[in-house]
Amino acid sequence: MIDRRQLLIQGLTTAGLVFLAGCDALSGNARAVRLLERAEAVSRRAQRLLSPRNAMAKEFTAADLSPVFPANGTINPADPAYQVLAEHGFADWALEVGGLVERPQSFSLADLRRLPARTQITRHDCVEGWSAIGQWTGPQLSTVLDVVRPLPRARYVVFFSADPDESGAKYYESLDLEEARHPQTILAYEMNGHALPIPHGAPLRLRVERQLGYKMAKYLMRIELRDSLTPIEGGRGGYWEDQGYEWYAGI
């Protein structure tokens, strides 16, 4: 009996270790990873089924603002063109909006400030796990889309940032039109009542309040309407998505 018990315990321990080693090995197996990635579509569909399309993210008061709002990722793009724009206080900066639209257009900061603005105090949830509360002001993305008029073929809104570093990496992000037209999806030029600081994405950043922080591209330079994400960079719809993170960042 004792032998059998010891054998069983050893067997279970070995099985456990093999199981864990197996899980680690599977993380490097393309087919296994594709299987794991199926959960993303399940989460996206379930969340969209369960929650109303236009459910609004919680909004807070000035008393709830984070004393220090962490600046994550790039905090000052190395791109020389960006540095020149920053030196001139972004007076020469303009946001190009094009792709599958009827009327491609570029917007200066003054143009954007003339559009009706929305101010919202919201909680920023980083994929790492931390949360911070900030106040953001800027036009709704839907207002800008109404100006340029997306073609019926357009399915995604793609955001291109100033290049973050000399490595040639390009930060970009994308949303589908449902999330892009959500009332709280704004192009923020102000944070906590002041012009958006450089560490937080000056002169303009995206706010998508029902998804994680990495969706909210900073240092916006260009927005394009596209019918597919495949031809862009790694083809998965964003800088972090190309490195294995979920395109649907609602969870």
Partner: protein, 276 residues
């Protein structure tokens, strides 16, 4: 003398749905715990409320010094700091290299720091865990499992104090055909308490769920509170599994395992000489 039916020497103790649900959990739980620790390691600190103000952490795990210069791991709980080098903050990875990370590589899935892959494992296993739990709950409620096997009787509830003492002394009654009172409460608590709690607090961290159902996190006082409760529920799960495995081993490991595999539990021989 008419043929008396011989006393059965085995008992069909676990139905197939119970056994299936059990082993699916056995696979899911380690994946969930270890990928959860991988995710935790991306920001190894816990808070209360909506925000994560660094100066108001309830718990934080830090490393002081660089990886090539004998760093030390410090864990701060409610303002008290402990040197946890080797386990928390600073530990050695599978290749024997010193790493600054919250939980050590042997406790996380994947082993190395890899948040994106940790999330993939976590949500995949979470869906299986949730579906398994929902199907099991329906089976227990609709079938007889809940009413016959899990709900304690008044007699068992009154005898709970004695049952606790017996458990602490590893003295278990002869009535192995059914769960005892304490056992029933532990199973009920995990199935209908801890399980839903960990799923709830997990969902409360999802920005989309939080937008649609703000009460998910409001009940706890905010998203960071929900994250803390999620972590504590995980600790309780680990504690439950530890006690469960010890009890299984202490009350006849092989017999218990066999009954959870095949359903059949071998009964001990009758105590008295019988009725001849």
């Amino acid at each position: 003398m008419p043929d008396a039916k011989p006393a059965p020497d085995r008992l069909y103790r676990h139905t197939l749905p119970v056994r299936l649900a059990h082993w699916i959990n056995v696979v899911c739980l380690p994946i969930l715990v270890m990928s959860g620790l991988q995710i935790f390691n991306a920001h190894p600190a816990l808070y209360w409320g909506e925000r994560s103000d660094p100066d108001r952490a309830l718990l934080s795990i830090d490393a002081v010094g660089s990886d090539d210069n004998e760093p030390i791991g410090l864990t701060t709980v409610f303002g008290r700091t402990f040197d946890t080098t080797g386990l928390l903050g600073v530990s050695t990875d599978a290749e024997g290299r010193v790493r600054s990370r919250g939980f050590p590589s042997w406790a996380t899935l994947p082993g190395p720091q890899w948040l994106a892959m940790g999330r993939r494992w976590h949500f995949f296993a979470a869906w299986i865990f949730v579906l398994n739990g929902v199907l099991f709950a329906i089976y227990s409620l609709a079938g007889r499992h809940l009413w016959r096997d899990l709900l304690p009787s008044w007699r068992e509830l009154r005898g709970l104090g004695g049952s606790i003492v017996d458990h602490l002394r590893f003295r278990h009654g002869d009535d192995v055909a059914r769960y005892n009172g304490l056992q029933k409460i532990a199973y009920l608590g995990v199935i209908f308490g801890l399980g839903p709690l960990i799923v709830w607090t997990g969902l409360a961290m999802s920005p989309r769920m939080d937008a649609a159902f703000p009460w998910l996190s409001d009940v706890w006082g905010g998203r960071q509170s929900a994250r803390t409760v999620h972590f504590m529920a995980c600790v309780l799960f680990i504690g439950y599994v530890a006690v469960h495995v010890i009890m299984v081993a202490a009350t006849g490991l092989w017999n218990n395992l066999r009954s959870m595999l095949s359903g059949w539990y071998r009964l001990p021989p009758p105590k008295s000489g019988g009725t001849l």
